[in-house]
Amino acid sequence: MLLFAVLLVACSRPEPPKLSQGTLLPSAKPVTDFQLTDHRGQPFTLKNLKHNWTFAFFGYTHCPDVCPTSMAMLAQVQGNLEKQDGLDKLPQVVFVSVDPERDTAALLSEFVPYFHADFIGASGDAQNTLNLTRQLGILYGKTEGSAADNYLVDHSAAIILLDPDGAFRAVFGVPHDPTLIASDFLAIKDYYEATQ
């Protein structure tokens, strides 16, 4: 009986981590290919999500409050992770524009690296943006009654975590705490590596 219990423990898969801020998906959700362009004018596709952990935030550069706050918070997450021993590679952080009409690569190239030199800005046409956001449960839309060139965009405030297979792993709702997000990330990464 005792031997059976020991074997059971030894053979069982690790328990999913208890997260402080994020929600881990019951199983990773693979993402199908998408076509965006990064802030340097290079293609940004599913290939860019492979072999890296990725935090993705969805916003727009005309947003003066929520988006800069979230981007600065993500820079703090990176700062916390940079201090971690044994973390061979930092996750990449991608700001995906939900306002592709106004967010040109030129605008993104000034907005996104302002928060952290390694952050990536990405945008695509309406169809390609929808193709990615729909897979990640991200919603957005122009505010009703806005002028043609002067409008606000409502958008999901969540931060999405994708694993090195390019699969949707976890979501972080608001309010965002950079210490908790960093520790949740490490727990998710450990769990991922233990279950490979």
Partner: protein, 141 residues
């Protein structure tokens, strides 16, 4: 017209500066924006020690073409900004303009404002009171 209104407002403020005010503003700051950003946001805490509600109806600034009262909120996971016609500071209470909540939104000026710069705002309340506020530009999460 706009300029003369501003001058009038400043004049009005100079009169009020000597009066006892039941409204105080603390910790006024603007978030430094990335280069070529189109919009900026400013924050402050408004304290009302008076016995009646104070209603902020208008904000002007010599640094900006116009200043809007806004509120960010997240409902069902969606972040949205909502224009406010006014912000009410309850009697014996305070309202904090802060990231993710009430804030002032302004189109960024042609010359970029950076950390260390200072900007004046003139707050006008429904009873005609005005307060001049100096805000620091800060880099802040």
């Amino acid at each position: 017209m706009k300029r003369s209104l501003l001058t009038l407002t400043l004049w009005a403020w100079s009169l009020l500066a000597t009066a006892d005010s039941t409204l105080q503003v603390e910790n006024a700051w603007l978030r430094e924006a990335p280069p070529n950003a189109h919009m900026m946001a400013a924050y402050m805490t408004l304290n009302n020690t008076g016995s009646g509600d104070a209603v902020l109806t208008q904000v002007e600034s010599p640094a900006f073409s116009h200043v809007m009262l806004h509120k960010s909120e997240v409902v069902d996971g969606m972040a949205r900004m909502i224009h406010q016609d006014e912000i009410i500071i309850p009697a014996q209470g305070a309202v904090e303009l802060k990231p993710g909540s009430f804030h002032l939104m302004m189109p960024a000026p042609a010359k970029r404002l950076v950390e260390g710069d200072r900007v004046d705002f003139i707050l006008t309340f429904s009873n005609g009171d005005t307060i001049k506020v100096q805000a620091d530009v800060r880099k802040k999460p």
